[in-house]
Assembly symmetry: C2
Homo-oligomer: 330 residues x 2
């Protein structure tokens, strides 16, 4: 064998070994082997098998994920609500004259009844004071500032480290297989867009969420700006999720992943399309590493969707047994 031939052979062998080693490496190392992981691998395998009976062209490989409780934690309260409460405190510290006014008084006094009074009017005031009356750019800057500095009350981690490592791997794996990954969440769209790209690799234009009305105006300097108002425009929860998917994506997902009854209609909608479909639910069963809650929880209640998921053969992911790790190691 000539030197050239042997060098070429070495290259070919190396390439061959490399790609074979890659194909055998585990794309989901934080998932324990089991029914859930296998269902994911089987589904992705069959929809990407060119010429196979379940093949789906790449442009139709739409995957939608809920955010709170599906991609990151949601206890003891939704993190966006924690942001709002922290902002109220920050604003009151900056302007002491606010301290005796609502909703600042109730928040500072931890007066939950005051906030819940009048059909939750106090909470609406909290949201309005922290999410409206500013430009979209100013709001995004405040959220980023909060994410950089705030810590989760019990886990003492930055909120962006409260994401689920197995899901980060799943999102990356799906994208490597030609899927386009979307968030479809009840959370505020402008809130989530500030971190979704860095945390999940999901760009702003692939985040679907609830929104308040925004108005266009020419600012004092003649420059165009967008002003956030307190008027609720769209609630991307429950039956709002398939509506949001239709409005923002315009295609029915072939894979949907949720964790609560607020995801039921999204899961129904994805699962009912023709061809291969995968619907998954995170079941929070891990009181030690995360939290354990389902049917009775005021946050992330999972009741009807758990029953329907079991009946319909959706994949119920048991956090305690299916996830090797929950949060990213530092």
């Amino acid at each position: 064998m000539s030197k050239l031939s042997s060098a070429l052979l070495a290259v070919v062998l190396a390439c061959g070994l490399g790609s074979s080693a890659f194909a055998q490496s585990d794309p989901l190392p934080s998932w324990n082997d089991g029914k859930a992981k296998q269902a994911i691998l089987d589904f992705v395998g069959k929809v990407t098998r060119d010429g196979g009976p379940d093949f789906v062209p790449p442009e139709q490989r739409i995957a939608t994920f809920d955010n709170d409780g599906t991609l990151w934690a949601e206890q003891p309260v939704y993190f966006q609500l924690q942001f709002a409460l922290d902002e109220v405190k920050r604003l009151a510290a900056e302007k002491p004259e606010l301290k005796d006014k609502e909703p600042y008084r109730s928040v500072l006094a931890r007066d939950v009844r005051g906030l819940a009074a009048n059909g939750g009017k106090g909470l609406q005031q909290v949201m309005a004071a922290t999410h409206a009356g500013m430009t979209t750019d100013a709001f995004a800057a405040q959220v980023r500032n909060w994410l950089d500095t705030a810590r989760h009350p019990t886990k003492q981690r930055p909120y962006t480290e409260m994401v689920y490592q197995p899901q980060i791997e799943l999102l990356a794996y799906l994208r490597s297989q030609g899927f386009k990954t979307f968030i479809v969440s009840g959370g505020g769209v402008e809130f989530m867009r500030t971190f979704a790209e860095k945390a999940y690799g999901i760009p702003p234009e692939q985040v679907v969420g609830s929104s308040g009305s925004v108005t266009f105006r020419l600012g004092a300097d003649g420059k165009p700006e967008l002003l956030k108002t307190a008027k609720v425009e769209f609630v991307d929860d429950g039956p709002g999720k398939p509506v949001g998917i239709n409005r923002f994506i315009g295609r029915r997902p072939i894979l949907a992943f949720g964790n609560s009854d607020g995801d039921l209609q999204m899961l129904q909608y994805a699962a009912a399309g023709s061809g291969a479909r995968l619907a998954l639910i995170v079941h929070h069963t891990d009181a030690e590493r995360e939290w354990a809650y389902d049917r009775q929880s005021p946050i992330g209640k999972l009741d009807k969707a758990l029953d329907e998921g079991k009946t319909r053969g959706w994949i119920i992911v048991d956090m305690k047994t299916d996830w090797k790790t929950v949060f990213p190691t530092r």
Copy 2:
């Protein structure tokens, strides 16, 4: 020189020549050389020059295009309105009992006054009869059927051949340079999504448009479906365009292309961002190959945006002189 060396040299030279030949090939062959074409090439060159002062990372290379009058023609009436009128005739032919009812009577009698009476109530009825009271899937099927069969009243071409060849090339060129291309149009989002992927290479999730309210329900067979209602939800025109961009894309475009006063705020918004920006307007100046209209036209009126564009140095594309061809050759 050994055989190996000369073979390697041949490969290197071939690669070098190949890429040089590629770099010199014209990505916009249907654009005449001139100020507009040069401005596009210069802009794309500088935002993609890694390490240059105007470099923009690929994920921020957002380009937004109006549709009617910018990507395809809009005379003598918006094609979506032509669809609605054709649908009314089709429905009346299918159900003769409709012929004496509004809006069918006025459309069949070409009674423009009847349609415009009561503040355009007849037109609203036309839109409701043809765009609501059906599932999103059924509506999309009707639009596709119409696009397959209908012909433009004067040009006698299918409507999907009324797209502008220079713009098809521009969209493809931008995507080849790492841009993400979006439609941001006053047209109905579900109408445009039926053809945007095939006609422009723009997938459904990158189409932003006006929309009616849609509701989720479980159909008679228990299958989830989305029902289109006649309630207007969002008008993606004028100041609605930057609002729509914020809602659906969540990033400010660095390039925006329009053709009418309805695009003014989108152009202002894109142009006012920091860094390199390009705002462009199609000026319909070609009565022979297309149509000539601007300040006085009831369809696609271009008046304020033409003045502001000239003042601000936006690129006014003169269809007659800047475009070598207008429509694709068959």
